[in-house]
């Protein structure tokens, strides 16, 4: 691990909030497992970062005097009895933008942590992983009012700015994802990877428009859809007054009586979101907040490989 990058720290009084040891352990394991996949494209999560290089093997060429001896391919020499030097191409640095939904609905917490806490943890972990690989990472927090944007940078200390912004944000208000994406997309001049972390309870059509806008600007898209277990299964057992977190809707109903229809409606919504993501060229994945975070990182690494 690069000594120059320290693990992200939480706000005063909440050290390491977004780097739960269990989660980090899971990420580390996934890193080791993913190393073989990314080894051909990047120097590797550990070796390259330790040597301060971000290069990728290109071809062999005959040794010529003046070349560094450490660049000689000794294995090839043992087979052909001739000196060849490895030629490397500098790796193309990734620019990634993390779009984190901070609307009021993200504040819902069922039996575990809230969706926003889960989203912030996931975003911080991804940012950390990206910075480890010298990728530039930026952050867009979409809450009440205008989106707060932290430009993409690859300096290790940039992580602190990202984490500070995540911790400063509080779930509130309603989010217009389409407007937020459109607004931010105008300022993204270089193409990169846009990762949207949201519960996607917004209007699907607006979401699709926003994603298409980014896709039109040749950004790669990933959608990490967060949901609480309660939202998926509606486990409540008695007559309940439900109040909407983002609006004035209220409904008194017996969840047992409408559970079947609710689940069907929710599944329809998930299918709709999944379909629109596919149409918009976005990778889609659903995360339930009672599940480990590592799956999101694996998903990113898989995307990074592609």
């Amino acid at each position: 691990m690069d000594a120059s990058i320290s693990p992200p720290r939480g706000a005063p009084g909440r050290p390491g909030r977004y780097f739960d040891p269990v989660v980090l352990a899971g990420i580390s394991n996934l890193t080791l497992r993913a190393r073989h996949v990314v080894e051909g494209l990047m120097a590797g999560l550990h070796r390259s970062s330790l040597r301060g290089l971000s290069v990728e093997f290109s071809e062999h060429r005959p040794y010529s005097p003046g070349d560094e001896l450490r660049r000689i391919d000794w294995k090839l020499f043992s087979r052909q009895d001739r000196y060849f030097v490895k030629e490397y191409e500098a790796e193309t640095n990734l620019r990634a933008y993390l779009f984190v939904d901070a609307s009021a609905s993200m504040g819902y917490a069922g039996a575990g942590i809230s969706k926003y806490d889960y989203a912030a943890t996931l975003a911080a972990s991804l940012a950390y992983l990206m910075l480890l690989q010298r990728d530039a990472v930026g952050l867009v927090v979409m809450g009440a009012g205008a989106p707060r944007v932290i430009p993409a940078r690859s300096q290790p200390h940039h992580l602190h700015a990202i984490i500070a912004e995540l911790e400063a944000a509080r779930p509130a208000g309603a989010t217009d994802v389409r407007a937020a994406l459109a607004e931010v997309a105008g300022g993204l001049h270089r193409r990169g990877l846009c990762i949207l972390i949201s519960d996607l309870l917004d209007d699907p059509q607006g979401l699709e428009q926003g994603l298409r806008h980014l896709h039109h600007r040749r950004h790669d898209l990933m959608v990490l859809h967060l949901a609480d277990r309660d939202e998926l299964e509606l486990p409540f057992q008695k007559l309940t007054l439900f109040r909407d977190l983002e609006g004035a809707l209220e409904l008194t109903t017996d969840p047992r009586e409408i559970r079947r229809e609710y689940r069907a409606a929710m599944n329809e919504h998930l299918a709709t979101v999944r379909a629109l993501c596919r149409r918009s060229g976005a990778d889609y994945d659903l995360f339930v907040t009672d599940q480990p975070l590592d799956r999101g990182l694996v998903r990113y690494l898989a995307r990074r490989e592609g």
Binding site: K115, L239, L241, R243, L245, L251, T253, I258, A264, A265
Partner: protein, 716 residues
Amino acid sequence: MALGLLAPLNLLAALAVAVPVAIHLLQRKREATVDFPAVRFLLLAQRRSSRRVRVRRLLLLLVRCLALLLFALLLARPVLQAPGAIFREGEPGFTVVILDTSLSMTALAADARPRFEGARDLARAIASGAGGEQRFALVEAAPRPGTSAATSRWFDAAGFAGAVAAASARPAVVEPARAFAEAYRLLRDSGVAQRRIVVISDLARGGWDRVSLDELPLFDAAVPVRVLRLGGDGARNRAGVVRVGARGESRVAGEPRVVRAEIANNGPEAVLPVELWLDGKLAASRLETVPPGTSAAVEFTLRPPTAGAQLVEVRLPADRYPADDRRLLGLEVAPPLSVLAIDGEPGASLTQSETFFLQEALRSERLAATLPIRVTVGGPEAPAAPIADGTAVVVLANVRAPGEKAAAVLTEYVAAGGSLLVFWGGSCDAEAWRLALSGLLPARVSASETAPPDRPWRVGEVDYTSPPLAIFRPPASGTFATASFTLRARLDRPTPAARVLARFEDGAPWLIEHRVGRGRVLFVASTADLEGNDLATRPVFVPLIQRLVLWLAGSLEEAADVEHIAGEQLEFAAGAELAGTGVTVETPGGARRELEFRALDAGSLAATAETGEIGFYRWSHQGRAGVAAVNVPAAESDLSPLGADEIAERLRPVRAELVEVTPSGAASDPAQLGVRSLTRPLLLALLAVLLLETVIAGPRVRWRELARRRPPHPGN
């Protein structure tokens, strides 16, 4: 088929149907509040499910109400009755129910309920659900003691249910002839075409085996008769005490008395523990071998410690027919009988004594009766001092004449309940007797007379109905005709209350008696020794003297060690002089009754007490007291059922249709009985409704979904 209810008041439980309605309404007020992000999906779900939810809620409410209604209906014990099995519906019909109220109906069925309870349920079931045009009458096959035959009347269904509820099994034997006669009388007066008789009974052999309906008044062959036999419940009388009595050489306290009990063993065990209880305390017990299916006599020897009435009880282990597991006996224990004999002409030797033959006749070892007699001899004058207490009989043998003082003593003695036995003799002065005791003797003595030696008087007419002479009734051994009489007292006309027990051939009284006050005077118009007759040398002399003395002492009658059967009457006899007095009887239940003597015929009174209870009846009268044990009729101890052929034979000319009924009162063949309990189908329906409620109210289980959930993984 019409629906009837055995316990209609239990339908009030249906009010509980308000409970689910209240729950349904109150539940809406108990709601939680949740801030939820996906309310719009909830709205969508509710829109989609609103119709289904409404239907489900309504269905749930209906199912819950239905469950409670079914439960209430179950409590009301519904039955389906098919009067059409005999009656055409909508037309008047008259049903007489002959309910067996005999003792065997108290046998316990397998559910520990008396058979009679099942019979009562069955009777109720017959009437329940009947239309208003139907009438019912209840005839108890074992009537209450003292009730007349024509006591039944017609009821509607509700009144009939009340009459059935008031009926009970009692210690009595069935009287089918009486019951059927009553039933036909009732039906004759009904005047409608639809009539029937229903008999509800166990048809136990013990009671029904000895009935006969040879001649039934008002018998109508057109009336269908159904016999519902309660059986198959395994109620079996394992063993019972069917008879108990006592015998002994003496009835005196401390002397041995043998209590004999007859045990009928209908159970499988051959060895039975038998206990004897005396005055509420266990006196003896033993294991007695009585082979199954047989009877055996068991004897216990008792030595009653004190005089008076002793309460004896023979007990067996309890079985399903507890009525005959104990049997009672009232044991009378008496003090020795005391006799004062006045010898009016003591002889020089013992054999010449006037009372020699009397003493010999009354010696206890020769006494045929069980009571010892202590004879005290005095004389030759009649006693002038008061007679000692406890003296049962005073004998005056050939006493010349009682003095004035002695006459007063004797008169007072007799008036107080003592008895006087007077033997005439050659020393007697007729004039003096007339003057001294004219009011005490049953006839005035006019003179002594003698017969020529070749033409002695002989005994002619004898009143064998009199208690002391009853045993001499021909052809029993012993006759007075061989005795010769040469000396006798000539009597004037007897007093109106006097009774001549025996006469000479010429019609002159030999034995004559009457009651004076509470006592009795017997005048023997000849001597007690050989002076005036040779009776003392005849075989009849000893039993005659013994029986005369015992009769006068009031000890000739059988004592209370004879058991009585419930339903019989206890009879108390008395002389005419006791008119206006009465007997006090205390029943086993503690009720006291005053019974007044009623005139039966000239010179005799009687009082009777009904015996409807099992136990000891204590009586007292004029200073005397006793106890009478009343037991169950032994005939009811045999619970084995009669066969169909035997029933047909017993009930002829009635042609009855036999229907077997289970102990709980439900018919084994509902079509024949015409009454069907709805308990089982309603119970099944209730279970089905509860299951339906569980399915509707419970979560919907989707097995495929459950299978997909493991391991939990949200799809993408």
